[in-house]
């Protein structure tokens, strides 16, 4: 009998848990540790944030699903990894702090044979003073945040209807943020709702970003192959901004957010401020507060985790100039550098470097969009890690190791630009591979036949379809495993 413990029940962790349970005989245990009782389809939070969906439509309780599938669920926060056991607990184990009502605050230890770290990101609102729902801006990072944001948005619309002009500031709350796609989506959903409510003329919509140019999306942009030739994502995105009357502040690091005003520094070192009536600014990510200890109780966190808090895996972390970064630097097995029975899946693994060129202001401030960490690669990685573990349990150490390098993987991103069955719009974008590889694909770094973008109603329908499809899959309904990640 082997026990696999999965820390985190987001897209990577939940996918890994369901696949492991499906692939392993019942005598093997699959245990999920997650601090939240509910699963959240995060891509639809932007619709919650404009009041077009309820939190109930984007979340569901995990416990009944795990009970039905025979997966053990511990609602708890993983706080320590003891990969060699400890003086009073011989087996490798994870120390947790329970978050469910019955055991809130109590700690416990959960032994494992195999461990998957799928803890996702820590939303680092603290990196920018005044950022976040506890400060002076809103967020759509969680369903709860999005629900609060929707109420604030409703108030802003009411003011517009009363004839008061409003400024909407949406984007990145720090120079090292990722998830530009989510901010892009929220920007255009806000703009779309303002038009639908008949108050667009009194509203100013401003997108603030750490990207050097629009369409960078933290991946140095994309070049879409079209029948008319190559179209850069910059042109594609700028066209939409101009058409919809959305202004932008580029290459910005938000330094602090005060009530009604965001202070920022630009790449040339100049400082500026932007007044707002409503601000939704995303935080930068870092790894969760997880510590690691050896058998003697020494803190070895720096051996398992990068300074960013994300787990070091089979990537090439050698520091080198931007021009020397290679697709092969990126990990493929996601096995920990320290333990061969530990993996990091989804956002929890430490990327070897940015994809977008990092830049620095004359004052030394980094303006460096972090690589996008979307659901699709997270799910694919979660499944690959589950396959590796399942085969190792069944066939021993010589079993096949499954790989899922982002340099060999494509990704689809459907970026909503407004809801509505007849008037909705979205940008459908695909890239192959995610990490550009000029050695394999030439100057463009990607397969231009498989890297394309298109704006239209059909992409909106697709986003709605994916919402229902992935919730169906996450609920482990019949034949869920036939739906690709």
């Amino acid at each position: 009998m082997a026990r696999t413990v999965i820390m985190g029940a987001g897209i990577a962790g939940h996918t890994a848990a369901l696949h492991l349970r499906r692939m392993l005989p019942k005598e093997h245990e699959v245990v999920v540790i997650a601090p939240n009782s509910k699963w959240n389809w995060i891509p639809s939070n932007i619709w919650v944030g404009v009041g077009q969906m309820s939190t109930k439509q984007v979340t569901f309780p995990l416990a009944p699903i795990y009970k039905r599938k025979g997966i053990e669920f511990r609602q708890a926060l993983a706080i320590e990894v003891h990969g060699e056991g400890s003086a009073d607990f011989a087996s490798p184990h994870v120390t947790v702090q329970y978050t469910d009502e019955a055991r809130a605050g109590k700690t416990g230890r959960i032994a494992y044979d195999y461990l998957i770290n799928a803890t996702g990101p820590k939303l680092n609102f603290g990196a920018t003073p005044g950022l976040g729902p506890d400060g002076n801006s809103w967020s759509v990072c969680t369903a709860g945040h999005a629900e609060q944001t929707a109420l604030a948005f409703e108030e802003a619309i009411a003011k517009l209807k009363a004839g008061q002009p409003q400024t909407f500031l949406i984007g990145m709350g720090h120079g090292t943020c990722t998830c530009q796609g989510a901010a892009f989506e929220y920007t255009f959903n806000v703009e779309h709702e303002l038009v639908k409510q008949g108050v667009r003329d009194l509203a100013e919509v401003i997108y603030i970003t750490n990207e050097a140019s629009l369409g960078d999306f933290g991946m140095d942009g994309m070049n879409f192959g079209t029948k008319d030739g190559i179209v850069p994502s910059q042109m594609f995105t700028e066209s939409l901004f101009e058409q919809r009357g959305v202004k932008a502040i580029l290459s910005a690091h938000v330094e602090r957010v005060e009530p009604g005003v965001a202070h920022y520094e630009l790449l040339d070192g100049t400082k500026g401020e932007q007044r707002f009536d409503f601000a939704m600014l995303l935080p930068p990510f870092r790894g969760v507060d997880l510590k690691a200890f050896d058998a003697q109780g020494n803190d070895i966190s720096d051996q398992l985790f990068a300074p960013s808090g994300f787990m070091k895996v089979d990537a090439d972390y050698t520091p080198k100039p931007y021009e020397q970064w290679q697709a092969s630097d990126w990990p493929s097995t996601y096995q920990s550098v320290k333990y061969d029975n530990v993996w990091a899946a989804g956002i929890a693994f430490a990327p070897p470097h940015q994809m977008s060129k990092p830049r620095q202001t004359p004052n030394g401030t980094m303006i460096a969009p972090a690589p996008p960490r979307t659901g699709m690669p997270s799910g694919v990685i979660g499944r690959a890690v589950a396959q590796t573990i399942a085969e190792r349990i069944k066939h021993g150490d010589t079993a096949r190791v499954h790989t899922a390098s982002m340099a060999d993987m494509g990704a689809a991103c459907i970026a909503s630009a407004g809801t509505g069955w007849r008037d909705g719009q979205a940008a459908a974008m695909t890239v192959f591979p995610i990490i550009p590889d000029p050695d394999k694909y030439g100057e463009q770094g990607r397969d231009v036949k498989e890297t394309y973008g298109e704006i239209g109603l059909s992409a909106h329908w697709m986003k709605v379809m994916l919402h229902y499809l992935f919730i169906y899959k996450a609920k482990a309904r019949p034949f869920w495993y036939l739906i690709p990640e």
């Binding site: 700028e238 060999d408 059909s458």
Partner: protein, 45 residues
């Protein structure tokens, strides 16, 4: 210090109409799905 993008190419009236034309978009929906399934299948090992 806001920026606008007046130099960005704008879609023609015909293109804008095509983006919301239900028949055309139903066709594009089928194409998009097919393309994505093919692309996704390449990334699964």
């Amino acid at each position: 210090m806001t920026t606008t993008f007046p130099q960005a190419p704008q879609p023609s009236a015909k293109e804008l109409k095509a983006r919301t034309n239900v028949v055309r978009q139903a066709w594009r929906f089928a194409i998009l799905n097919t393309k994505m399934i093919l692309m996704v299948s390449k990334g699964h090992h």
